[in-house]
């Protein structure tokens, strides 16, 4: 094991940047935290019913007729709704990609309004497991399941297609003919045309190059696998609808329900408590199951609970993408031209496919590729009959990094250069020169920590261990997105600070607590900003329940951005708290506010700092009213450059069995400012479970003959456990500086973006043959080695 190396903060602060436990550590470690499944027990909602939805056994099929009369007669069944019922069939077509999660928008302004391809409980199944046909509310889950079995369905089974290349061919089964007659998602307003980046003259750039390489990378269907299965309870009484759910976007859930069911916004109340991990799952709060659960509650007049089983929780995935990349350079390593093309497998519904395929790579062009004179990017999202793809931790960036890191590694090899030197020579960002300071820092630190100089050798030419094992090192890097300016589209972030007469504080910085650690960041930031009160984090209460009826609008847990976005506003609100306290004090002691100051919980005259009065006394002798400051600010849009992230990997490949073992991972994030060191490290280390899974073991497997997914469980869908994890060395850096008080950026997603490519490059370094697609399973290695 590497001895841990704590980071050294650039600016010493009292609370921000600390190594310390999370604010909710005791509540969580002692099992007292209540998740939605815990809150919605029948003992708490005695009248509660359980909903179960019919799922398509076919990858592609249409319901010709449906007869639920037997199900309705089953004792314990309280309501059945089918796709033929007018309250269901009259619902507007929708998309589970209303927003990219950063803001609440209306139906008309939904992000992917060109792809409203989902019917709530429709009669068309677009993948095997699709929620279609009928939904039942019963006294128990077992009765509901039994009732589903009694529903007679006459299916028209349609031909299906799983492979996007096949789906694009003429004559392929068409999945959403009204939207995409050839399965290729039409050009859209958000992502732009199919060629969505065309800078300079790419062809001339290649002509001018002295060395050109071409590469392919295939990213597969991985899933979020949050432990906390989707769950909601909907109680629709007279004209008021209450939802408790583990959606991580309360405000958007409310908008979705209000607009889809035609209720005034204030008649929909959404309550979200702790959520057991989300990782981008289900994009936002616009899942169709909220709606059919609501309709069942309306029909029965009782609260209805809907919870996915583990199998059903395989509900969303990362977009698989087939990327090709081409790069040309001069002999000295100056890149003259780059071209990337992707074919994305959107699965059954478009959701956020084009965000991953176009939006994320566009951002990269603006930053990392800013100094490359000629760049073209082209992308096609394709419908197939697979699990729909949505946002997943590091949306689009993971896929792009797989090809980007590939191209860099290959080009460097062909040029006879160290890929670190090639990277520093070419990649930076729009507002700065080369080499980029942040990139230099992460690559330099990573190289030191992995032992790059000593361990990197010619591909396949390193020492052999135990006669059959070969080792190698590799890395990949990526610009960290979600610096504050990139969040500009998020709109205003609101917080409220209440300082009570005893100087205890309530910090309303609403966000659904999914485990990211933003709650602790906020409390540390608040303690820091209210330092003049002489208080610490222990004096601050952070209400964790988001309730759209009583809370401010929640700042959505996307983009890894909540921790610093809210803390920035808290810092401003704290200044206003101070101003109000000075006014209070000035009135009481008959002075001008500008002649006073506060420090360490004491108010004093600037002219005579020794004398003064405690803030508590100001309250006690005054009106005893708490000071309440509510403030909203849009994210700071100042352009400050881009911080970098990188992963370095050391692997050992057994050339006789094909098994790849990762020995060590170094995770590097330039954070600008580390807001909460233990939480940031937990994200860095934690991201490797997902990154390593995508690299080596995680993959959804389909029966090619039927299109039925075969491994919707955690026995066959292999998530790394403690025993599978290598030595992980997290490195937090503060090189770049962003806008505002702290100048921080989000890191959660960026911890795993580079992991699969770092592993693949290390595998190549070990065995000297490239594997183009993940996960790197033993059979692929053996095949690459010509042994299978």
């Amino acid at each position: 094991m590497t001895p841990p190396r704590p980071y050294t903060p650039r600016v010493a602060r009292k609370f921000i940047g600390a190594y310390r436990p999370r604010i909710d550590a005791l509540e969580k470690a002692s099992g007292k935290v209540q998740f939605v499944d815990d809150i919605t027990l029948k003992s708490r909602f005695p009248g509660m019913l359980y909903a179960k939805v019919m799922r398509s056994p076919y990858a592609h099929a249409r319901i010709k007729s449906i007869d639920a009369s037997l199900a309705e007669q089953l004792p314990g069944v309280k309501a059945v709704l089918t796709c033929k019922d007018p309250e269901v069939s009259s619902l507007k077509p929708t998309s589970a990609g209303w927003t990219d999660g950063v803001d609440t928008v209306s139906y008309e302004r939904m992000m992917w309004r060109h792809f409203r391809d989902r019917r709530v409980l429709g009669d068309r199944a677009c993948w095997a497991t699709d929620e279609v046909g009928a939904v039942v509310a019963a006294e128990s889950e077992q009765i509901a399941e039994e009732a589903l079995r009694l529903i007679k369905v006459e299916w028209e089974v349609l031909p299906f297609v799983l492979d996007p290349m096949e789906a694009m061919k003429p004559g392929a089964p068409v999945i959403h003919p009204e939207i995409a007659p050839r399965n290729i998602l039409p050009k859209d307003a958000v992502g732009g045309s199919d060629v969505f980046v065309d800078k300079g003259d790419v062809d001339k750039g290649f002509a001018r190059a002295e060395v050109v390489i071409e590469a392919v990378s295939v990213h597969h269907n991985a899933t979020q696998a949050s432990l906390d299965n989707w769950c909601c309870l909907v109680d629709w009484k007279s004209d008021k609808l209450t939802v408790m759910s583990n959606s991580y976007e309360a405000d958007q859930t409310r908008m979705h329900i209000s607009q889809m069911l035609g209720l005034p916004i204030n008649k929909v109340r959404v309550i979200s408590s702790y959520v057991g991990g989300q990782f981008g799952r289900g994009d936002t709060g616009d899942q169709p199951f909220f709606l059919f659960t609501a309709l069942l509650s309306k029909k029965t007049g009782r609260p209805v609970k809907f919870r996915h089983s583990r199998r059903e929780s395989f509900h969303d995935s990362r977009q698989p993408a087939i990327y090709t990349g081409k790069a040309g350079a001069k002999k000295d390593g100056t890149i003259t031209s780059m071209y990337f093309k992707s074919i994305g497998n959107s699965g059954a519904y478009a959701d956020h496919t084009m965000f991953a395929l176009k939006f994320a790579p566009t951002e990269i062009t603006e930053v990392a590729l800013a100094h490359i004179p000629n760049v073209r990017m082209e992308s096609y999202g394709v419908y197939t009959n697979k699990l729909p793809a949505c946002m997943m931790r590091g949306v689009g960036n993971s896929q792009f990094n797989l090809i980007f890191g590939h191209v860099v590694d290959m080009l460097a090899e062909k040029l006879g250069m160290d890929p670190i030197d090639l990277a520093l020579k070419n990649f930076g960002h729009e507002w700065g020169g080369l080499p980029d300071k942040s990139l230099k820092a992460v690559l330099g630190e990573g190289a030191r920590r992995i032992g790059w100089r000593a361990k990197r050798h010619k591909p396949g030419a390193g020492p052999v261990y135990d006669r059959v094992k070969k080792r190698g090192v590799g890395f990949s890097f990526h610009p960290a997105w979600h610096a504050e300016w990139q969040e500009a589209r998020r709109g205003e972030i609101r917080v409220r600070i209440t300082v009570n007469p005893d100087c205890s504080v309530v910090l309303d910085a609403p966000t659904v607590e999914t485990g990211t650690g933003s709650n602790t960041c906020n409390v540390l930031g608040c303690a820091e900003a209210l330092g003049f009160l002489g208080i610490g984090p222990g004096d601050i209460v952070w209400p964790h329940t988001v309730d759209t009826e009583t809370s401010l609008k929640d700042c959505v847990q996307t983009d890894s951005a909540v921790s610093y976005l809210q803390s920035e506003v808290v810092a401003h609100a704290a200044r206003e708290v101070k101003r109000r306290l000075l006014e209070k004090a000035a009135a009481l002691i008959k002075a001008k506010p500008e002649d006073l100051d506060i420090a360490g919980g004491r108010v004093y005259r600037k002219a005579a700092p020794a004398k003064g009065m405690t803030v508590r006394d100001i309250f006690r002798k005054g009106d005893m009213l708490p000071v309440v400051v509510e403030m909203g600010r849009p994210p700071n849009a100042e352009k400050t450059g881009v911080p970098y992230i990188a992963n370095f990997a050391e692997v050992e490949v057994d050339t006789s069995t094909g098994r790849t073992q990762v020995l060590k991972l170094v995770v590097l994030n330039d954070c600008g400012t580390v807001m909460y060191a233990s939480g940031a490290e937990a994200q860095q280390i934690g991201g490797q479970v997902m990154g390593l899974g995508e690299a080596l073991t995680e993959e959804i497997i389909y029966d090619e003959a039927t299109g039925v997914p075969l491994n919707f469980n955690w026995i066959d869908y292999k998530i790394a456990t403690m025993a599978d994890m290598p030595d992980i060395d997290p490195a937090l850096l503060e090189v770049w500086r962003g806008a505002g008080e702290y100048g921080a950026c989000g890191i959660g997603e960026g911890t795993l973006t580079c992991t699969p490519r770092a592993v693949l490059n290390a595998v190549y370094n070990a065995i000297g043959v490239r594997i183009d697609d993940i996960p790197v399973k033993p059979e692929k290695v053996l095949k690459a080695l010509g042994k299978a």
């Binding site: 841990p4 310390r20 604010i23 909710d24 550590a25 815990d38 027990l41 650690g517 329940t545 937990a682």
Partner: protein, 207 residues
């Protein structure tokens, strides 16, 4: 559920199922309180309100539902409730808040290892699995901890922090100095606010 034996005997001839849960014996009527196919996790969560354990997979693949049975870690989703007859079950609710394992999970912030929990959904399962491991092996090595806790999944990926916490917990077991929370300990937040119409869970296992 915790019905009085006398009253129950008059109503049915069936032998009651007796389970000691968190130090308290409970009697259940077979067929009424406990049906044959009922899992132990269902009984504990849905009927008795011990929601510390979580059911994330319901098929023995993740460890979130781990409880102790006679001191051994078991997956409560893979045990039938009736199988617990005559046995002693400990759920996380049965541990004191200053339990060394809980304390160590809370306190873990040693640089280089992250925290021992993030979303906290897997945490009660890990805490109970660690209790079971330490019961069998009070001084595990890091390798033994990795092996011993490899039946549990943490999707947030806090494995390094968890392993570290377990190592520290056995330092306490060995009579080493307990790690103080000191200034690192922050008060827990307010409990979940429920709509006014909801009642508290019943049958909490109190006499």
């Amino acid at each position: 559920m915790a019905t009085k034996p006398g009253k129950q005997a008059r109503e049915t001839k069936k032998t009651p199922i007796k389970i000691k849960i968190n130090g308290q014996w409970h009697e259940f009527e077979p067929g009424r309180d406990i049906v044959p196919e009922m899992t132990l996790s269902y009984l504990l969560r849905e009927k008795l309100g011990f929601t510390g354990l979580k059911v994330a997979c319901d098929e023995g693949a993740c460890g979130a539902c781990t409880v102790l049975m006679d001191g051994k870690a078991v997956l409560s989703c893979m045990k039938l409730a009736a199988e617990a007859h005559g046995h002693e079950i400990l759920t996380i609710e049965g541990l004191p808040e200053d339990d060394p394992v809980i304390r160590a999970f809370v306190a873990q912030c040693e640089p280089g290892y992250g925290t021992a929990l993030q979303c906290g959904f897997c945490t009660p399962g890990f805490v109970m699995a660690a209790k079971g491991l330490l019961n069998e092996n009070p001084k595990p090595t890091t390798g033994e901890i990795k092996e011993g806790l490899s039946g549990n999944i943490c999707r947030c990926g806090c494995y390094s922090g968890i392993a570290r916490a377990v190592l520290h917990a056995c330092e306490e077991n060995k009579g080493g100095k307990p790690r103080s929370f000191g200034s690192m300990h922050l008060p827990i937040g307010p409990s979940v606010r429920l709509p006014a119409s909801t009642s508290r869970p019943k049958g909490r296992g109190k006499p």
